[in-house]
Amino acid sequence: MDLLLRAAIVGGLLLVTVALGVWWQRRDGRVKAAAEASARRVGGFSGDQLAEVGLDREGAEALGLLLGSPTCAPCEQVKEVLGQIEADRSSFRWAYIDAGDHLALAREHHVMRVPTLFLIDPRDGRILARTSGVPARRDLEEVLDR
């Protein structure tokens, strides 16, 4: 009896976690456009913040800021996507920071997980879009083409 009960608990636990994982993964990489992104939070990135993360807005038409961690495999995939976009568009510039080294910045922008990517307008620091997880290249380019 005990054995059956424990087997049921183990099975149920696995089922629930896997279902949650699949649901979570489906949301991953979805690009939240400016309206949706800014409805959740105020403002964008200040000049000081862009300087803090080493993003030079001079002459750029769009900026990307990726918050990651040293033990994050999807972050590497996002870097690859950003590298591809950068190779195509000379006016696009991006930077990677360890979110753990910039906790104040992460908190201000309500970053809960890595990788989180912001696309930023260099003129006023406005957030054009944000994504968590690995976004598709064409989804990001769609935002940049707007």
Partner: protein, 153 residues
Amino acid sequence: MEQQLHHEAGNLIDVRGPRFGAAITTVVLAAAIIVQGTVGTVLLAFQFTMFTIAAFAGLRWSPYGNLFKLVRKTFDLGPPPATEPEAPPRFSQLMGFIFTGGGLLSMSLGAVGLGWVLAGIVLALSGLLASTGLCVGCEVYLLGKRVLGAAAR
């Protein structure tokens, strides 16, 4: 070649390896939690040993990882669909080490129920990794940093 990889980006591993290992871990821990008792505890201790080797000696020494290499060779699974740095899955192994170790410790101190709950957390996470490949370390990284930061203050 291997030396070169080591210099450039640390050890690169086949992404399928950790998921294969997580699948075995899931089966071992599920069996341990269901049967409990002496057999269950031995299974948990076995899994703890696997985590210890992988976390501290590196994934190239991981028994499950080497089993995956053998399976890959035997069944000719082909080249890796993608490679990833060793650090993230090694971090997960360290988490497994901490939680199963904590479980064994609490059992030895008499808190048997708590021990199995800790084992259940590792079971859920390894089941998640095996089935979806989700990066659990990515989800908890900032939370952990914030907690550590608050504790340091």
